[in-house]
Subunit: 347 residues, 2 copies
DNA sequence: CTTAGCACTTGTACTATGGGAGTGCTAAAA
DNA sequence: TTTTAGCACTCCCATAGTACAAGTGCTAAG
């Protein structure tokens, strides 16, 4: 456990603030000038040497100013940062963007990611509120004319997944109905992952009683099921990555985008945030690709409809006070909005 | 109409080939060495001066080698290029990627864009075969438990669009059924754009007979309808743009990506290709953003199921002979695959 | 413990400098 | 008339050198 003197705290804080806003290593002279008490640059230099010794700041070359290290950011975020109060203007934007009469909760969550990315010029993620584990609450096949059928799967928290497919003429409506009844009798009420394992073991045999070639149907059912089982998240401002990845390394950018498209990996990155607001800095994240980025995650509470997550991905060198303030305000607005939403639709 | 001597043709061809493969302006000496007949560099210089006079090639600075101009590429593509015969390896990749047992035609079209982008390291587009104008062939509302309803719209060429929404408790099943019947009675068989205009004029009044607050329903119906009316195209290898846009201009990249996400603008760019294979070079395209890019579009024939489009977007400086060869081979493979597909499902 | 002073280090911006690649032009050769 | 050798000239580019600004660590005095 690191403990610093008051003056050291002030210096570290000033370094982080300066560097995150200017991007240039900060030197002792500039630092001395902006500190509230009167100290000489030499004194500041001594303190800086101490902070460097502790691993909180670092030099880019032997005679450069200092930049915060990951450890330094960590200490700053844990002990020093005061979230900026949100600008009245920003709160207006949030409120007005959320207030439209959305018909689906997914739309609210999706626009959330967009607003957040617009306000910050970073990349934002949003996950809708979710009970731990959703269960299958219904499956049906809707015939759509000659040979087309739509498979629709509903879960107990209202998620709907669907997919259309063509059937060969050999299959009759009766057969399909029998299969649907089978699925519903056996699997409704079960958690989705159990359904998935059932689909790999005994279900195929049973389906084979009714269909000669069950593979096609089983593939569709499996597809829809995995789609529903996946945690769906929305991404806003993907293109903003181009702004703040100062490296011109194309490959790095590519792997970042690929990462964002893999919901499994991304769920991994977001983790399961327990706190209200959580900050992960650079190498603290498991994924190596993100070593120059920081992630602010926050949960938001949707009453008895569970807890969702919003997240913000930006450069390690980000103005944490502003961003934390913004995310904090946003999660409250969103929670409020969802309560309204559910009040309306729960009747 | 420009006419060149044989030797000038050879020189222009060599310049394009050299420059597209190396990216470096080509000089008279290197050129003289590789021409089949014996000429001195001085002669080549004279010829180059003539080609420059005609606007077919240009210098990057007063004493540099030459690069082809847009006009030069145009001439090359129109008169000189010989499509490369496709590599046996590539044709294997195409065949095997297309041969899986797809259940929906969209999957074939989507993978097409992927294969094409993989083979070329460029960005590829694919549009599915389409009759000029699709018509509404059915609309229905499928109840999914308590308050959720799924709106499903089917067109006469088999496209399906759906969307779920929540209804307030005030609406009864009977009311919904009446609305569905209304829609089907009045609008089935009409082209989608007529349906859209109807939706803006007399339909709302009629729907109001059955629902107190028709706005929600009308929005959903409109959404699903516009989704169906839009030409859907697939994009493969979006990230490849990062490779070959040598400019580090982030804004340019952003507008490119934004362009690709707007299906209207993109349909504009793709145009309505009439030829089998068509090449648009740099500033020949209407859209200014694409001035450093070239687009190869090709139609593919799906028998009596209409004609689709595939396209390839790469840098102006691309190896046209290889790309044209590849696109040509691909469109044939795809057409063949679709004939198989339809034979199977049309029964 | 703080500070002034100073020698030292490093990045950056600017300025030669020379070589290489390529051109256009001229005059002679084919 | 066409081709070619020769040559002066232009421009890019990589390299080295220089000066300067910003900043550091250390020492010795306050």
């Amino acid at each position: 456990m690191i403990t610093l003197t008051d003056r050291q705290n002030m210096i570290l804080k000033a370094i982080v603030r300066d560097y995150t806003s200017s991007g240039v290593p900060v030197g002792s002279k500039a630092l001395a000038a902006q500190l509230p008490m009167h100290v000489s640059s030499a004194t500041v230099r001594n303190e800086m040497a101490a902070l460097e010794e502790l691993g909180l700041i670092a030099k880019t070359h032997s005679s450069s100013g200092r930049i915060p290290s990951v450890k330094g950011y960590r200490y700053y975020v844990d002990h020093l940062v005061q979230p900026d109060p949100i600008k009245a203007n920003d709160i207006d934007i949030i409120k007005s963007s959320l207030e439209g009469q959305f018909l689906k909760i997914d739309e609210i969550i999706e626009t959330s990611a967009k607003i957040l990315s617009n306000l910050t010029s970073y990349t934002a993620f949003s996950l809708k509120p979710e009970h731990k584990q959703s269960r299958l609450s219904g499956f049906r096949l809707v015939p759509l004319g000659k040979r087309q059928v739509m498979a629709v799967l509903v879960t107990d928290n209202g998620d709907v997944e669907s997919q259309t497919f063509n059937i060969t003429s050999k299959i009759t409506g009766d057969q399909l109905e029998a299969v649907v009844r089978l699925i519903n009798d056996q699997l409704v009420g079960k958690p989705l992952d159990e359904v998935l394992t059932a689909l790999k073991s005994d279900i195929p045999m049973q389906v084979a009683h009714y269909l000669q070639q069950p593979e096609g149907f089983l593939k569709i059912f499996g597809d829809v099921l995995t789609k529903a089982a996946q945690e769906r998240f929305y991404v806003g401002g993907r293109l903003n990555l181009l702004n703040f990845s100062d490296s011109n390394d194309v490959d790095e950018l590519k792997s970042l985008y690929t990462l964002m498209d893999h919901s499994d990996d991304m769920a991994d990155v977001l983790g399961q945030p327990t706190d209200h607001i959580q900050v992960k800095i650079g190498s603290e994240m498991t994924n190596d690709i993100l070593k120059d980025y920081s992630l602010i995650t926050a949960t938001y509470d949707a009453g008895n409809h569970g807890t969702g997550v919003i997240a913000l991905l930006g450069p390690t060198r980000m103005p944490y006070s502003r961003m934390i303030g913004l995310v904090g305000a946003f999660r409250q607005e969103l929670a409020q909005r969802l309560i309204d939403y559910y009040r309306y639709f729960d009747q």
